[in-house]
């Protein structure tokens, strides 16, 4: 396993000078923080989508219990 320091390309738009620089520890920490936040956001999105799907399925089931046909439920919910 290598611990290679990530690099960034910086191009100065005014001079055209292009440099390849190693990330600073602050930038590495920020990158890791964004990765953690991104993963947390992804999990939260998935959980919200699952909760919404479960609520929809529950609602459809309750409509069926009330006696609505599948066509009527579909017309109301689009399901």
């Amino acid at each position: 396993m290598t611990n290679e320091i990530p690099t960034k390309i910086v191009i100065n738009c005014s001079t055209g000078v292009r440099e390849v620089l190693e990330l600073t520890q602050v930038e590495i920490d920020e990158r890791e923080a964004m990765a953690i936040q991104s993963e947390a956001d992804r999990v939260a999105d998935e959980e919200a989508a699952e909760a919404k799907a479960e609520a929809k399925a529950s609602g459809v089931a309750k409509l069926a219990e009330l006696g609505l046909t599948a066509e009527e439920i579909s017309a109301i919910t689009g399901a």
Partner: protein
């Protein structure tokens, strides 16, 4: 529309690309990116968009097609997406970022379109309405990955767009 600078990623890859010292001589900015990353897992990988290298005060809402589903999400980020190493070999995602009035002393809006390339069902298309609630003029623009690198041959070109005296865009 005038090309300001182009970056092509070399054989070692790079975890981020930064356009620094952007001239304050244009009205709008447009950044076109052809991006493949070394990340694996999903066939796409997110690219953080950082005006002036800043993570604060960013927000977005996007509408996405996932190949076999849709998504509509908001959050405190500005994100573009490229093809990952799990995409079909030698394919690259395409990103277009438009920033009107980048020198403005009020908040800036960004439009970000991302399309990943993959010869399978799982590819991503996103239309993103972005917002950077900061009064600073944009003088640099950074694209970063949370892990891995931009793969060799990825490119990014920054364009400047100038409005004419009648307020319409000048084509040069």
């Amino acid at each position: 529309m005038q090309a300001i600078q182009t970056v092509t990623v070399g054989s070692g890859g790079a975890s981020s690309i930064e356009f620094s010292s952007i001239p304050g001589t244009f009205t709008d900015l447009k950044l076109l990116v052809s991006a493949r990353t070394t990340g694996t897992g999903q066939t796409w990988q997110l690219i953080n968009v950082l005006p002036n290298g800043v993570t604060a005060n960013r927000s977005q809402r996007y509408l996405a097609g996932l190949g076999s589903g849709v998504d509509n999400t908001s959050g405190n980020e500005l994100q573009a997406w490229g093809s990952s190493a799990s995409s079909t070999s030698n394919t690259f995602g395409s990103v277009a970022i438009y920033i009107p009035n980048y020198l403005s002393s009020v908040a800036k809006s960004l439009s970000i379109d991302s399309v990943t390339e993959n010869n399978a069902t799982a590819a991503l298309q996103l239309l993103t309405a972005g917002f950077w609630n900061d009064t600073s003029a944009i003088t640099s623009l950074e694209l970063t990955l949370n892990s891995g690198n931009f793969a060799e041959h990825s490119t990014a070109t920054l364009y400047g767009i100038l409005a004419g005296s009648d307020g319409t865009t000048t084509v040069t």
